[in-house]
Amino acid sequence: MIGMVDTGLALLILGLAVWAIAARDTFAAVVGFVAYGLLLTLIWVRLHAVDVALTEGAIGGGLTGALLIGAAARLRATEAAALSERPGVALRTLAAVLSAGVTAALAVCVLALPVPAPTLAHEAAAHVAATGVGNPIPAVLLAFRAMDTLLEAIVLLFALVGVWSLAPDRAWGGRPGPRHHADPNGMLAYIARVLPPIGIIVGAYIFWVGADYPGGKFQGATILAAMWLLVMMSGLSDAPPIRKTWLRVGLVAGPLVFIAIGFVGAAAAGAFLAYPEGYAKPLIIVIEFALMPSLALTLGLLLAGAPQRLEE
């Protein structure tokens, strides 16, 4: 019933999770976590969730990994001190017993899942034609559960407000993160010149095919954000100061268009975020086009971090 590939993937992912938790060196643990994210991407493919696999690879493994690697490199000096604060054997035993209990309870739940499994696939399949998109995932994200996606875009914006508000007073309005300097003739600068044109096309393609095939605005926006971060990290271009008006307008434009279309639905179709008959697909495309640049900006700036320096 289960093949070698699945068993191997499950064992590898568990091994990497143990490494990410138990490795002594934080940097090594984070690198293990990035590999873990990539393997998880393969597991999503095995579970027939290719849209989730793309998101996991781009955001779960990629952006989260880059964020943690950056933090691990900057916090390296604090590692030795933390080792002396290791909790005692009693607390660790208690934690192990508690964790084993949680695992056992979840395992019992997994084995006791109802047969046949409840599913909304039939309902989704019956109504996906009304939205005009071929892939059921964006139909769920932007039509059946559009409110979730709107709130998600706003959560990202709030997270960025949270990150920015951690800026020291003297750096408010300035540029996020340290200024990166790389050898202008080095490998990093070379890649930062050659890769972005390809990356932008791949990002736009993944965004565009998202209506009918796996892909979509989040995955495409992440690739665009990654290209932007690459250019920033190679020192070819600096992060913009956060007080810039164009930046702030760009960040809120996508969610604002989404909310405005929601109100159009309230007036024309009788419910917030309802689409008038026959206009579902064009409205979904307008929302996706408006959200994509805002998401790319938000994701890139979340990774760049709090403002740290005013104009030099």
Binding site: A82, C109, V163, A171, G305
Partner: protein, 113 residues
């Protein structure tokens, strides 16, 4: 045992491993990492459940799959805020200890920026 059950059980172990790391690790960055392991375990469990709901020619129930995409993005934004908090703490005090009886280093240290 079928594939969703296998990955569901692996997910249960991941949640346990992550929980242990969150409690037992003294370093805040490692706690954030362990929290992400818990999160991916929860996602994997939901993904296994979505796969069991395969019907109508789809490889899995599209509703939980769409929720997973939302969940992964929200988990990233929460991690970004947690890391920013940690870096600010480091910038202010020069250390990242969570211990309540740690010596206050704030007086002598210049903020690192």
């Amino acid at each position: 045992m079928d594939t969703p059950t296998l990955f569901g059980l692996a997910a249960a172990i991941l949640v346990g491993l992550g929980l242990y790391g969150v409690i037992a690790h003294p370093q805040p960055l490692r706690k954030i990492l362990a929290f992400n392991v818990i999160g991916s375990g929860v996602f994997l469990l939901l993904g296994a459940i979505a796969r069991r709901g395969a019907a109508a020619g789809m490889g899995g129930d599209p509703v939980p799959q769409a929720l997973l995409i939302t969940g992964i993005v929200v988990a990233f934004s929460a991690t970004a805020v947690a890391v920013a908090l940690l870096l600010r703490l480091f910038g202010e005090t020069g250390s990242v200890t969570l211990s309540s009886d740690a010596p206050a280093k704030a007086d002598g240290d210049k903020p690192h920026g």
